[in-house]
Amino acid sequence: MLNYRVQNPTDAPVSPTHLATDLTTDLTRDLAAGLRLPTNGLDYTILAIYFVVVLGIGFAARRSVKTTLDFFLSGRSLPAWITGLAFISANLAATEILGMAANSAQYGAYTVHWYWIGAIPAMVFLGLVMMPFYYGSKVRSVPEMLLLRFDRAAHLLSAILFAFAAILIAGVNLYALAIVVEALLGWPQWVAIVVAGAFVLAYITLGGLSSAIYNEVLQFFVILAALIPLSVLGLKKVGGWDGLVDKLTATHGRNFTTAWGGTGIGSANPLGANWLTIVVGLGFVLSFGYWTTNFAEVQRALSAKNLSAAQRTPLIAAYPKIFIVFLVMIPGLVAAALVPGIGRPGSDLQYNDAIPYLMSQLLPNGVLGIAVTGLLAAFMAGMAANVSSFNTVFTTDIWAKYVVRGREDGYYVRFGRLITAIGVCASIGTAFLASSFSNIMSYLQTLFSFFNVPMFVVFIVGMFWKRASAKSGFWGLLAGTVTAMVNYFVLYKKGIIGIPTDQGANFVSAIAGFVAGAVVMVIVSLFTAPKPEAELAGLVYGTRSPGMAEAPAAGDDAWYRRPALLGWGAVILAALCYVPFSF
């Protein structure tokens, strides 16, 4: 039925997060039948209200856009609770929700790794260690940070790759939306693509990042209102948590409901990864690459009103992230318990169908409308996060620095609106492209997921080693990307090294890309001149930006707003969450 995530039953989401590396389609299947939801006028009313509000936010935010800083970074003026919830929401796209539920139906409780070890430490690191550099240096984007620390080559390479990836991922999000909407509501694919694309276009062109962020916060609450009832009813149906564990132990074995069972080195498990590749590949390299250098995320924190709020953005996001795993894992596990053959040959249901299946089985009209609204909102927010980061990078990093330089600010606001429209049209194009070349698209996405990792290595080496030279950034980026790709597409896909699953291969590719990027950076640095010390202030660990001396805003010294406390609290909480799943 719905088959936008997997190419074969052993595949799983590739990135630590939604990145949608996993959306592929088998159009030969009949999408229309089977999962159609019994929606009625009430559900459509709820959906229509949401669309009206989304547009209303766009129009209302329009009057706050005066400068490029307003359009691309909300004037660096939003409070931390808004940027924090937008931070989590930009990640909580529908591809993440459906994909992680699918992951749970397939691999069981291993899903928790994508949250507790594969997100929390990286989010805390971003808030506590990296944000002072990002926010304090006043850069407007992640590539701009590379421009300051390294040189134009590193800047341009990262900006162009990011812009491509953002459009591609936005398009895949749109396409995934179209096939889900077709299956659930029966709308033709092109209608869903054009309608969703038009709404995203309208509200971002009007209100810029402020309207993207406001809508993300709204989406966060709607998706919770959809997933909480679904999880509660799912648990009730299988006799509570104990009933769920008993059923799954009987059908899937004991390891299915544990986090670490069967992950010893050399022992086989369905994930195809052991504890070491989970901790290093997922927990360190992939996760830090995604959370700390992916501009679609970092942009939310850069729009905060001061350094304290910027630091708290990923930390506030970390707390919901710890618990959201239950809302996606429980439906996945319940689906696996109710339909033990889900996703296997001979079953009507794919792993991806876990949440839609439970929606159709359990939710009466009313809550069903909320759930459909939540899913559509999550798809649109996922696309909007990519579009709003794309227009920023394209305008500030490519257009204003290399193509048309030195014009007045108003010109770049107009250009930002224009490029938003072009970007949305391009993603509508990639969405249609995805429908005919789904495999190519999935490979391209895997490729871009590798790009985050070298980006992270370049950041981390540049930040902690002041000797890293200006030229080393570009070569480290290139070497890391190429190595990860060669490992994945040549060594793994051609069977030269034996790794049981795509997922395991991803972890290994990420580690290889990280090591290669670091080694090349060291070698290039040793043979090229270092950057003058004076130009590194505020960019290298142990130094401060000239403008960093700002006094804390009133109230920011309250104990519950202290970044260190919030950050370590999240890490400890995530570690504690592992306890019941470890024995």
Binding site: I49, L78, S210, A225, V232, I370, S545, G547, A553
Partner: protein
């Protein structure tokens, strides 16, 4: 985004970014003009809460049976209503701070 002609672009330093962004922050209108999101969340969730709660009150036994014997519309509706009320009350207790005149240096404290 005004790039001073003194810089060729081959050398774009942190000072350039600081100066540009600080200048833009002075002209920025978001802090002064953006509406308070709490009003929207509060309004939408109160409305959704009322709609879904009423649906729950009028649900037939068939709907309740589908949802494992729980009147899920009622409970979800009440939950959404409470969330909406929370945001409205928060807004009422801590109203939107009045826009600060965009004087350089003062803005950070806003």
């Amino acid at each position: 985004m005004t790039d001073d002609s003194g810089h060729s672009g081959f050398h774009y330093s942190e000072q350039d970014v600081q100066r540009e962004v600080t200048e833009l922050e002075g002209k920025s209108a978001t802090a002064a003009r953006i509406f308070d999101l709490r009003r929207i969340i509060g309004g939408l969730f109160v409305l959704y809460g009322i709609i879904v709660t009423i649906t729950g009150i009028t649900d037939s036994q068939a709907e309740i049976d589908k949802a494992q014997g729980i009147n899920i519309n009622l409970w979800t509706g009440i939950g959404m209503l409470l969330l909406g009320v929370f945001f409205v009350v928060w807004l009422w207790l801590r109203p939107t701070p009045p826009p600060v005149p965009p004087v350089e240096g003062e803005k950070e404290a806003a």
